[in-house]
Amino acid sequence: MSVVAQSDPLHFALIGTPNSGKTALFNALTGSRQKVANYPGVTVERKSGMLHTPGGRSVNLIDLPGTYSLRARSPDEEVTRDFVLGRFKAEAAPDLLLCVADSTNLRLALRLVLELKRVGRPLLLVLNMIDIARRRGIDIDLDRLSAELGVPAITAAAVRRGGTDDLMRRLDELAATSETSSTPAQWQAPAAAELRAAQREADRIIAAAVKTPASPDTLTSRLDAVLLHPVAGLVILLAILFVMFQAVFTWAKPLMDLITAGFDALGAFSHTMLPDGLLQSFVENGVISGVGSVIVFLPQILILFLFILLLEDLGYMARAAFLMDRIMGGAGLHGRAFIPLLSSFACAIPGIMATRVIDNPRDRLTTILVAPLMTWSVRIPVYTLIISAFIPDRTIWGFASLQGVVMFGLYAAGIVSALGVSALAKFMFWRESPTPPFMLELPDYKLPRPRSVLMGVYTRARMFLHRAGTTIFSMMVLIWFLASFPRPPAGATGPAIDYSLAALIGHAMEPITSAIGFNWQINVALIPGMAAREVAVAALGTVYAIEGGKENAAQIGQALAQHWSLATALAVLAWYIFAPQCASTLAVIRRETGSWKWMAVTFGYMLALAYAAAFVTYHTAALLGG
């Protein structure tokens, strides 16, 4: 409309109830032009992206956390409220609110629309998933709906090609007028009577404008008859988790072998290209083997996230929470904690951040405390290495790999201890405090869209590599430094590392760690392993590579099998079930809980558990003749 509007991007915001397909719509509108950051002052994820309308306007689109009401009950919902009301100082108030609704389930969304009208911002109702609604025979009179609500409405099918064309054209028209049509905000947190009145009004509008066939979605009810069955449902959930673990262990193998071979070749190449000496050792043993031993786990992490995102898009995650609620509840956890905890499998950081879906602060804190115990991907390096060195590669029961079963057992131990710790935390810290409610909408099942799943996997892979590229790399350089300096004196006979700082620290710790069967090489790896668990393997590699020469570097596993007893190996596995998580996880815990105390509690209890578990394991195994 004006010259200013042409050059300055407009700010539009997507708002909607959970499961409205809001994120799918966001992906469809912005494609890969997305940016994920944090809102100023809080740690809620801020997803924004640029979109270009057919008329050539640039719009900055923001995907707000899903909510049923502006009456915020969690940090996520507070962000939505403050953003919509323009209360963020650093953020411009949105020029247009796009309220996204699932066309097959309008009831709660229309009540939200009625509430949003009071905000006084230009508003557009987007009836998403219209394709599914039409297929089910749901007939929506768009003009009537729009007239009754007093809000313009448009249909969209975010996951279909061309499904957002009408919406794009409409955005063009609205962009021209949005600057002028704001009215003063009159929003106040609605009382129960207002909620009732608004829902009655929404129901009246639905009765007038929407014709629904008598039978609801039969596919979802047929699937739920099995998947939510009290017994069969739990069995299937366990089976899904078991397949996930097996897949991560076996499918990733060929790719991992390829990556290992690639980095070995690179290391050998650098060895021949560089003159003997410090630089050669730094590049080969510090940089290449360090980065390589982390990147090699990318395939497993990709497969893990593929599973998690597929289950989420399928609509199964909410069912898993339903099935697990009572079991988690027994341990003092909320059914909703299942989703953050499952995300913690890959990395505790997204998991801890995902605890924001839990609106009760104490439940959230408990979940945060135990989330690091669930962490899976960062332990894969350590577990894989030790398992493949000490556990025979055999098939048992005719179909399962023994190594996979051991892996499953280790994670089962992690999960069981997470439940135990949370029950204990509940008992110790807030025995008297109330149990919050579990209320969760179960969305209809939907076929996941490959594009949106792949985009999610890509984002996570980038996050992992970013960490591998920065934190882990700098740790590796530090380890290499500790292992290489000071240089051995002239005429020294032993391996160079015996004279280094690392050996000094490792030996100093030996009195404490010999009780759990750890030798000084393990101690050297433990130090960086506390900063970031996945570094420990690389550190072991560095320690043994430098000690034993290049021949051993290629086969850390073989080196371990020679140097460690089985009891020691098992003790290390036990240690890593509990060992304190990486420094960035601790930083996130501090940020999310807003206190150093909870960070220290997490670190302390994990360290204590790790030592105790390793102690018991080592002595049991030694007694049994390991």
Binding site: S69, L195, R196, T220, L234, R326, T435, P436, M439, E441
Partner: protein, 81 residues
């Protein structure tokens, strides 16, 4: 009667929301508003579709066209007939 006492397969409609003293650990007004926001309003049709394994808890309730999971404890506040 309270929805929290009903068995799987129960069909009826909501006659009122009445948060008793022991229903939930949430303040009474807060629980009422949360239930309303999830669509548990007077007149809505409900059906209990599924129950959990332990103590037949939680329950999955069809509320008009949506399905909501809720614990029996909170469902005690939903009066149905």
């Amino acid at each position: 009667m309270a929805l929290g006492l009903a068995h799987r397969g129960f069909r009826g409609h909501i006659t009122g929301i009445a948060v008793g003293g022991d229903t939930s650990d949430l303040p009474a007004g807060e629980l009422e508003r949360r239930l309303l926001e999830l669509g548990f309003t007077e007149g809505a049709e409900v059906e209990i579709l599924h129950e959990g394994l332990f103590g037949r808890d939680p329950i999955a309730v069809r509320v008009n066209d949506a399905t909501v999971a809720i614990r029996r404890r909170e469902a005690m506040a939903i009066l149905v007939s």
